[in-house]
């Protein structure tokens, strides 16, 4: 799976480098390149693989794949800010506000969000205007105050709450924070291919939750050097997580069940969706 992810990751990286190479030199452009380097590119892969599933041209799918990775990168840069999660390390490298400064990090995140919408709506994709407008609209909804930003706001509110979150509250929080972009990515191929996105949406809902449960597992079992960012912060802060609520084994079992649900949701695609099934299994086996 890592090899399949790496192949798409390489294409996404090359395209992002090409686009950013046309930007005027300066700290914001450098920071945008820095923040979009590395990572597993799971969201980008979901776009590419769901596009392949619907016979969409890979060269066209590369644009929304880059867009979602730019959007994800923006969210990480802003999440790492001192006023937010205050993290110094990301993907094994200093975070943008540490490497440059806070003002640059705010602007890098802002510009990466704009870049996401620039790329997803670009006529050079060869995608029809209908598809580009729909991808844009759904991405904006997934990213904003009813999606990812809402999840992030709930996460921050939880840190200062007097009582830890319940399981239902954590699930709702994660559906925004992580789930919304994963759902968009997995359904992008169906939207590009003008097919029903419902099976991919069901797959992505289960996958997104499994992904976040595994993140909580890694936060407890991983070490910072391998993970590339600080670990154990949630437990130290007394935050409710899937692991604190379900126990380590309970969390692992729940994630495995969700992966089975995700794989089953793709039955209509038969064996053609095995790449997406493999990804789902990879998501809960990863240690970083």
């Amino acid at each position: 799976m890592k090899r399949r992810l790496a192949a798409d990751a390489g294409a996404i990286q090359a395209q992002l480098d090409l686009v950013l190479g046309l930007f005027p030199p300066g700290p914001v452009t450098e920071g945008m390149g820095y923040a979009t380097r590395g990572g597993k590119r799971i969201r980008g892969f979901l776009v590419m693989e769901s596009a392949r599933l619907h016979g969409v041209d890979a060269a066209a799918a590369l644009w929304p794949a880059c867009a979602i990775e730019a959007l994800h990168a923006y969210s990480l840069v802003h999440d790492d800010l001192p006023a937010m999660d205050d993290d110094d390390l990301r993907r094994g490298q200093p975070t943008v506000h540490v490497r440059w400064d806070e003002a640059t990090a705010v602007l890098v995140g802002d510009a990466l969000q704009s870049l996401a919408f620039e790329m997803v709506s670009d006529p050079q994709t060869g995608l029809s205007a209908e598809v580009r407008a729909e991808l844009t609209h759904t991405l904006a909804r997934a990213a904003g105050g009813q999606g990812m930003v809402l999840g992030q706001a709930r996460d921050i509110a939880a840190e200062s709450a007097e009582t830890p979150l319940t399981l239902d509250e954590i699930i709702t929080l994660q559906e925004g924070k992580t789930g919304a972009l994963i759902e968009w990515s997995a359904t992008a191929g169906a939207r590009m291919g003008r097919a029903d996105p419902a099976p991919l949406l069901a797959y992505a809902r289960a996958l997104g939750l499994a992904f976040q449960i595994q993140d909580d597992v890694i936060d407890v079992t991983g070490d910072a050097a391998q993970v590339g960012k600080a670990v154990g912060k949630d437990a130290a802060a007394g935050k409710a997580t899937f692991v604190s609520l379900l126990g380590l084994e309970g969390a692992k079992t729940r994630a495995a069940t969700l992966v089975e649900i995700a794989c089953d949701a793709l039955s209509v695609y038969e064996a053609r969706a095995d790449g997406l099934r493999e990804l789902a299994r990879f998501v809960i086996s990863r240690q970083s």
Copy 2:
């Protein structure tokens, strides 16, 4: 002119309130409403007036008008952050990070940027997918690392530079920081009406610069209570401005000349563009 601005501003406010009324309650949604209230709505008016000029339905034009005001509001919320311009007052009210906190201000800005792209690409506008995709793509370019964010980055870099900027450098900076969004707003009507945007682009280039010169004039001649934000900061910081480089009278003369250029650029529209000409004259007469 103030009455004409107020009419469109009222429609824009009602539409933004309607859309945000559907968002889940919480500090980010509240902050989004707070940050989009007030202001002169010059960018929104440019969208509405250029749409009228091309016979575009006002109900359709309202969406991109709201989008540009949401985008402008995001840029103000982030510009006011302590790591950026560190301003406590905006439109006569506490800035978002003062009223709430920095994390909320980062998220409010982020969500407002998403909202801008959500609104400009919304199928409910009744605009064709071609128009929505083009408005999205051009807005993203105007907002991002080659447009507004680039101008903002240059502005921040100028503060710590050893030598003050030259006139050419300030003009380049302002073309990004203020000009890009004004150009997008003024040309939006032509894009919606599938007309040549060149005359409106020439108008907007001159208008944007006149607007920024007048901002520098107000920073010297205005008082905080009337302006609704801190004044005299640039002079106190020893920053090069149009006034420091051209003198107060020189700056006023330059702005007046630019307004004439802006008005002349609209000759193809004859008297039908008098609303836009009136706006240009208003821009250099305003004291806040």
